[in-house]
């Protein structure tokens, strides 16, 4: 394709091709600090393309293609090319990756142990992970957490964090502006702005962490902590995994172990500060 870039996030080497220069330039900036290994073949391909040649210029709209595609997915305007690239990368991992059990969850680590947060979009899992990643924690990822089916360790997928709506202001005030991507207003997912993870989190992206605590955050409402039973955790995580079924017995074994060995809680919190306090409190209690 006309423009392309290679990006390695966690264990996945991507190549992303585009009919336009702008999305690639934006990716180059976001991923400048990520490791580059030109000798490494790409495991996953993303294509950002114009459905018709003239749509490269006339009302340019970005279709998301690649090894795996969602049929009938709507294109995005060129101004949201970065979001298209992000969606394309997520899609390849969600549908194509088989080495690990994938959880749609954010994760942070401390002292080699991982805190995994799973929840719907809007639960605040990304924001909490981003904020914790600015503190004493290593950000492992805001979208996917990878569980090794053999050893049970969690592996990181620290792509650029996708901050949405109110989270943008909550995080932007705390970080160097050079670590923020352009603001994309009014996307189908609301306002979006990317945060480049800290350099130490990127440098440590291949280091495993032992799952130590599972949280199911819920943003909004009163402050509450609810211990969660194994059955509920198991079912929620099967729903949060994009490849649980495809992994067959290995997926079942990995998930069973994760659920049996990791204490789990639902937490609800009215604001980020409270959420972080709850996380720190549970972490301290669990690891006592």
């Amino acid at each position: 394709m006309r423009h392309s870039i290679r990006i390695a996030v966690g264990p996945v080497q991507f190549r992303i091709g585009s009919d336009w220069a702008a999305p690639i330039a934006a990716l180059e900036r976001l991923y400048a600090g990520y490791p580059q290994d030109d000798a490494r073949p790409a495991e996953a391909t993303v294509r950002l393309f114009a459905a018709r040649p003239w749509r490269r210029w006339v009302r340019p709209s970005v279709h998301i293609g690649g090894d795996f595609v969602v049929p009938d997915a709507l294109p995005l305007p060129l101004s949201m090319g970065l979001l298209a690239a992000e969606m394309g990368m997520n899609l390849q991992v969600a549908l194509g990756w088989r080495r690990h059990m994938l959880l749609h969850a954010s994760a942070v680590a401390r002292d080699g142990r991982a805190l995994i947060m799973s929840g719907e979009s809007g639960s605040g899992k990304s924001t909490l992970a981003a904020l914790l990643g600015e503190d004493e924690w290593r950000l492992m990822g805001d979208e996917f957490t990878l569980i090794d089916p053999v050893g049970g360790d969690a592996f990181a997928f620290p792509r650029a964090v996708s901050l949405k709506n109110e989270a943008i202001a909550a995080v932007a005030g705390r970080v160097d502006a050079a670590r923020l991507g352009p603001l994309m207003a009014g996307t189908p997912k609301g306002d979006i702005r990317h945060l480049i993870p800290r350099a130490d989190a990127i440098a440590a992206m291949h280091e495993p962490a032992r799952p130590a605590l599972l949280l199911f955050p819920r943003f909004g409402g009163g402050t509450a902590i609810e211990p969660m039973g194994e059955g509920e955790v198991f079912v929620r995580l099967t729903e949060a995994s994009t490849n649980y079924v495809a992994l067959g017995e290995a997926g079942f074994a990995a998930l069973t172990r994760l659920v049996r060995e990791t204490p789990a809680f639902g937490i609800s919190y009215p604001d980020s500060a409270t959420g972080i306090a709850l996380v720190e409190q549970l972490w301290a209690e669990t690891l006592k």
Partner: protein, 337 residues
């Protein structure tokens, strides 16, 4: 060299995988994924000295394909449990059949829907038994439903409400309206038992169906994979049975599929290096269009010749139904857009 040619050369064993440049793998992996053949390639190159990340990716693919195949055969077992009590025997087709029979082409092969063949006289009862066992309609559109029932060689697709897996119940292997009418009764009555206990088509019929599916029915989507199946199965059948090619010829004539079978054999020679017996080793100028269509992918896995693709799409419809009916069908479909 283009990635698709490198990919085909790797499958055919004409190129040393260990000698590929790192950048060449990008395209090879991309093309293999677009053809749903990455796990097939992973099996073909098992044991070869590969870059570490490629070796790891291929190991993932082989493991995933093994799970997927077990799941596909479980689905076949579910169909057997639904149909056996009402006395309906079926023949497994395509991917599930290759897996059940432990064939070489099954290694790493992606298996989509479960395809089964029943006698035309059993089709209504098969439908009822499956509906009672938890399968449901996928198509809600009345015209599509009518079209399938009147003109196709299979029931409208059914999906199992708990397992989310599709089943295609065939009563023959080409649409009813197709210019060619294979002998469906012969396909079922001459089926053989596989190692797993499922019935599968006999070797010659299996090769006929593979060629028909690739060249007489479809528009050559996934053609490289179907051709790879054909290449491996005919090679193995011929190695096990000296008279295989003659038997294949006779069977192809019975089903009216001689042209497709002959072409599939020539294409498997041209692309994958199959060695053909004297009578089969000919040339047809039209083959070049098929080769071009099969190889029309760029290094990013995109189809490179949209016009050729379109032409094969039109050809597939042209073969499937008479002109007046095709016009009526396209008109109805167009109005519903």
């Amino acid at each position: 060299m283009s990635a698709v040619l490198t990919f085909v050369d790797l499958l055919a064993g004409r190129r040393d995988a260990a000698a590929l440049a790192p950048r060449e793998w990008d395209g090879v992996i991309g093309v293999a994924r677009s053809e749903a053949m990455l796990a097939t390639l992973a099996h073909r190159l098992e044991g070869v000295d590969l870059p570490p990340s490629v070796a790891a990716l291929f190991a993932d693919q082989r493991a995933a394909a093994a799970v997927a195949q077990r799941q596909a055969l479980w689905e076949a077992e579910m169909a057997r449990r639904a149909l056996a009590p009402v006395g309906i025997e079926f023949v497994l087709l395509k991917g599930a059949a290759y897996a059940a029979a432990g064939m070489a082409c099954a290694a790493g092969r992606q298996i989509g829907d479960l395809d089964i063949l029943v006698l035309a006289s059993d089709i209504r009862r098969a439908e009822n038994a499956l509906l009672n066992a938890g399968w449901e309609w996928v198509k809600s559109d009345p015209y599509d439903d009518f079209y399938y029932r009147e003109h196709m060689h299979e029931l409208p697709p059914l999906i199992h409400k708990l397992r989310d897996r599709m089943i295609d119940v065939h009563h023959t292997i080409l649409p009813r309206t197709h210019r060619i009418t294979p002998d469906a009764l012969a396909l079922v009555s001459d089926a053989v038992a596989s190692a797993d206990g499922f019935a599968v088509l006999n070797p010659a019929d299996m090769a006929c169906h593979c060629a028909a599916h690739m060249l007489a029915d479809g528009d050559l989507q996934g053609g490289l994979r179907n051709l790879w199946d054909f290449n491996l199965m005919t090679g193995d059948f011929a190695a096990a049975d000296q008279g295989f090619w003659d038997r294949l010829d006779a069977r192809a004539r019975l089903h009216g599929l001689q042209e497709s079978v002959r072409r599939a054999a020539r294409l498997s020679r041209d692309l994958y290096g199959a060695v053909l017996p004297a009578g089969w080793d000919g040339h047809d100028p039209a083959d070049r269009w098929f080769r071009q269509r099969l190889l029309a992918r760029d290094d990013w896995g995109r189809v490179t010749q949209p016009l050729l693709e379109q032409a094969f799409y039109i050809r597939s419809h042209w073969l499937r139904m008479p002109a007046a009916m095709l016009a009526r069908h396209l008109w109805t479909k167009w109005r519903k857009r």
